[in-house]
């Protein structure tokens, strides 16, 4: 169950993702909490229930209850913020004078180390595709002391989890070659 189940479920054409999924989760410059929080938040952000089910099970073994909740919280709040702030950014400042008036208390009190929550927010932003949010969160985690290598590792995790989720969903689509049992 967990990571190995997901890897095993990937079809032959997604072998690169299967191998990448193994490597980004086995050797990493990230702490265990940073790594598995990134995996979990990204799995949630892919919106693929099959991917989330397997990776959540695996992440649970590496994360405290607080970190597990916070990672899902990061995926959720960024689901809102990436849409809202991306829209604001894309409208070129035309609405910068207005208040957001949206609650985002979890960012102030995530229940885990703030830098970890910021890193997960960055990874989720990369999946949701908000360049300005990524730029902002990258600056925060770098200023808080994370290295370029650590940022890059988190982005690798996001990319591999997103790709694996894509493959799993392709394979599960009606009419596609069914290798998932």
């Amino acid at each position: 169950m967990g990571l190995e189940t997901l890897r095993g479920a990937l079809p032959p054409y997604a072998k690169d993702l299967k191998l990448n999924l193994g490597s980004v989760t086995s050797s990493s410059s990230l702490s265990e909490q940073q790594l598995w929080g990134t995996v979990l938040a990204c799995a949630a952000a892919t919106r693929s229930q099959r991917t989330l089910r397997e990776l959540a099970e695996e992440a649970q073994e590496h994360l405290s209850d607080e970190a597990y909740e916070a990672a899902l919280g990061a995926a959720s709040i960024m689901g809102m913020n990436n849409v809202f702030y991306r829209a604001k950014h894309l409208l070129n400042g035309a609405y910068d004078d207005l208040r957001a008036s949206l609650r985002m208390q979890i960012i102030g009190k995530p229940g885990v180390e703030k830098v970890d929550f910021e890193l997960w927010s960055l990874a989720v932003s990369s999946i949701n595709g908000c360049g300005a949010c990524m730029e902002a969160h990258e600056a925060v985690v770098r200023e808080a002391g994370l290295s370029r290598e650590q940022v890059f590792d988190a982005l690798r995790v996001a990319a591999v989890v997103a790709g694996a989720a894509q493959a799993v969903e392709i394979d599960a689509a009606p009419g596609a070659e069914a290798t998932l049992s």
Binding site: A100, I107, G108, K109, E118, S121, S125, C130, A136, V140
Partner: protein, 192 residues
């Protein structure tokens, strides 16, 4: 009257317990009473403390019941709600038993019989009772919102909730950073 930026005074008051009174297995009046104290405020909790002049008057039950109906909304916002007047706890108890809208009120009704709190807040009026005042207090015990209305003007509890939402809706996300701003204040964000 104390206002925004002021520290809310400390208090320790006798109150009628929240919830359905008819379900209480009471042997004596004291079983319906509890103590509410500023020192017992939970960490990171906000507070709404509101006052009315006299129990058994007409406007009051409507707005007290309105605070009661929204108790869960306030709790979702990490906020405790406390209602206070200068009537004794026994009068509070009698009023709650008497009025169907107040029978299962989910918030404590406190008695400031000695008028210490209302005096310190500056809301003790010429009639010797509390003005119809409402305070929103943040987790640092600082008053963030104060409102008082004259005579029988009722309160709009939804407005209190709206203000609370606005106070709690800081744009904390780094996403709010705009291009052109020199740097993101990471230390401030980390300390938020």
């Amino acid at each position: 009257m104390l206002t925004i930026g002021d520290q809310f005074p400390t208090y320790e008051l006798t109150a009628v317990i929240p919830g359905d009174l008819s379900g209480v297995d009471a042997k004596q009046p004291e079983d319906y009473f509890t103590t509410v104290s500023s020192a017992a405020t939970g960490e990171d909790r906000w507070r709404v403390v509101f006052f009315w002049p006299k129990d058994f008057t007409f406007v009051c039950p409507t707005e007290i019941a309105a605070f009661g109906r929204l108790a869960e909304e306030f709790d979702d916002r990490d906020t405790d709600v406390l209602g206070v007047s200068t009537d004794s706890e026994f009068v509070h108890y009698a009023w709650r038993r008497d009025h169907e809208d107040l029978l299962d009120l989910p918030i404590p009704m406190a008695s400031d019989l000695k008028r210490t709190l209302v005096s310190e807040l500056g809301i003790l009026n010429a009639d010797g009772v509390a003005d119809r005042a409402t305070f929103l207090i943040d987790p640092n015990n600082e008053i963030q919102f104060a409102m008082v209305t004259a005579g029988s003007v009722g309160r709009n509890v939804d407005e209190v909730l709206r203000v609370l939402d606005a106070l709690q809706s800081d744009e904390l996300c780094a996403c709010n950073w705009k291009k052109g701003e020199a740097t993101i204040d990471a230390s401030a964000l980390m300390a938020a």
